[in-house]
Amino acid sequence: MNAFLAIIGRDLRLATRAGGDALTLVLFFVMVGAVVPFAIGPDRVLLAQLAPGIIWIAAFLSMLLGLDRLFRADEDDGSLLLLRHAAIPLEAVVAAKLIAHWLLSALPLLVASPLLAVLLSMEAGAWGKTVLALLIGTPALTAFGVIGAAVTVSLKRGGLLAPVLILPLSIPVLIFGVAMVSAPEGSSAASLFLAAVSLVCVAFCPFAAALALRVGSE
């Protein structure tokens, strides 16, 4: 358990120390959301209607942006090879990195989402639903991202490949995520589906990603 926490702690420390990598993601998230009104026009009703989708797309894009740093740095300095001989199996190492990555790439977006809600003239109720949907759905996006990053880490210039690989996989998350926000009061089918997708992805991700890392270094 110590080894598990040490990996999470190190990733968090590195991200906060490297000069605000996490902050850059948040800025990107807010700016994507802020640019959309310029493209759509100043129609407040239309904007409020589109806002949940815009927030999802912005969150999705900014999570893709941080993907490459997941394993790349560890691969470049040799840590990833050494972690193969850690006291915990590689699957647990990947799980630790999954949690750290969610804390670094999804949690800041949830914190910054009120700002976007104001910019898009969302109502408080719709914002609350969107945050809840993001909270349930982002673990699945993170899990897809971890798998994509693990598959592409052995490619020297695979930085752009991982997002392309996982984009199609993430469509169900987007569908149910937005459906959860627009669903009428009391209907929980979309949120249950979203939770199921998240749980399954997070449970399988460490095994798939660890396998990809093992095969990749051969």
């Binding site: 040490a6 300095d77 090879l81 050494l82 270094s217 051969e218």
Partner: protein, 203 residues
């Protein structure tokens, strides 16, 4: 240290990278307290052999057996890459590896002292010279006890004092019942006999 038990037994090992076969029919055993030097020209497969022993590269043929029949061997790998985060301090780097690999060895401060980096614990590792980075990588071997050390050019970019340090570390490790497999071009400053395995050409 009576009956020397083979910690590592390799039989009929064949390995190729790309289309090229590096070696085949390789067999050796390493017992407790033994140092095996792997020599050979550049590209002979020294590093690849170490990575294969570490279970990272897939072998074409043959078996690698560890004492006790364990699948995951208790080993330390010291490769070309240091596994050190430049943005963390020296102490933080060692504390991390100690937590990840198991806190069975020296305390981080003691390991820094032992590798001649005493007093530098609060500095970011990115400020270190190449030789100091190598020393920090060596200190990682000391914070967790592992029976087998796989060292790839352990004296690379070290000064003469560093060479002596590597020699001392290896001697201590051998005396405490460990085993070392080292790929090297230069002679290691280790007292006592070492077996040599030469790759490439000499087969």
């Amino acid at each position: 240290m009576n009956a020397p038990e083979a910690l590592l037994t390799v039989t009929d090992l064949a390995l190729s990278r790309g289309e090229r076969q590096l070696f085949s029919g390789l067999g050796f055993a390493v017992s407790a307290g033994e140092l095996l030097l792997i020599r050979g020209p550049n590209g002979a497969g020294k590093s690849s052999l170490l990575l294969t022993l570490a279970g990272i590269l897939r072998l074409d043929r043959g078996t690698i057996g560890w004492a006790g029949g364990d699948e995951r061997a208790p080993l330390h790998l010291l490769g070309h890459l240091s596994g050190i985060k430049p943005r963390l301090t020296l102490s933080e780097n060692l504390v991390f590896w100690r937590a990840v690999n198991g806190p069975t060895g020296l305390a981080p401060e003691a390991a820094l002292d032992a590798t001649g980096l005493g007093g530098l614990g609060v500095i970011e590792a990115g400020h270190l010279s190449a030789g100091q980075t190598r020393r920090l990588a060596l200190a990682r071997l000391l914070v967790t006890e592992r029976t087998i050390w796989l060292l790839d050019e352990p004296t690379a970019s070290l000064d003469t004092a560093g060479d002596a340090l590597v020699g001392r570390m290896i001697e201590n490790h051998l005396q405490s019942g460990g085993a070392v497999v080292a790929a090297t071009h230069s002679d290691l400053a280790v007292a006592g006999a070492a077996r040599t395995l030469t790759l490439g050409g000499a087969r």
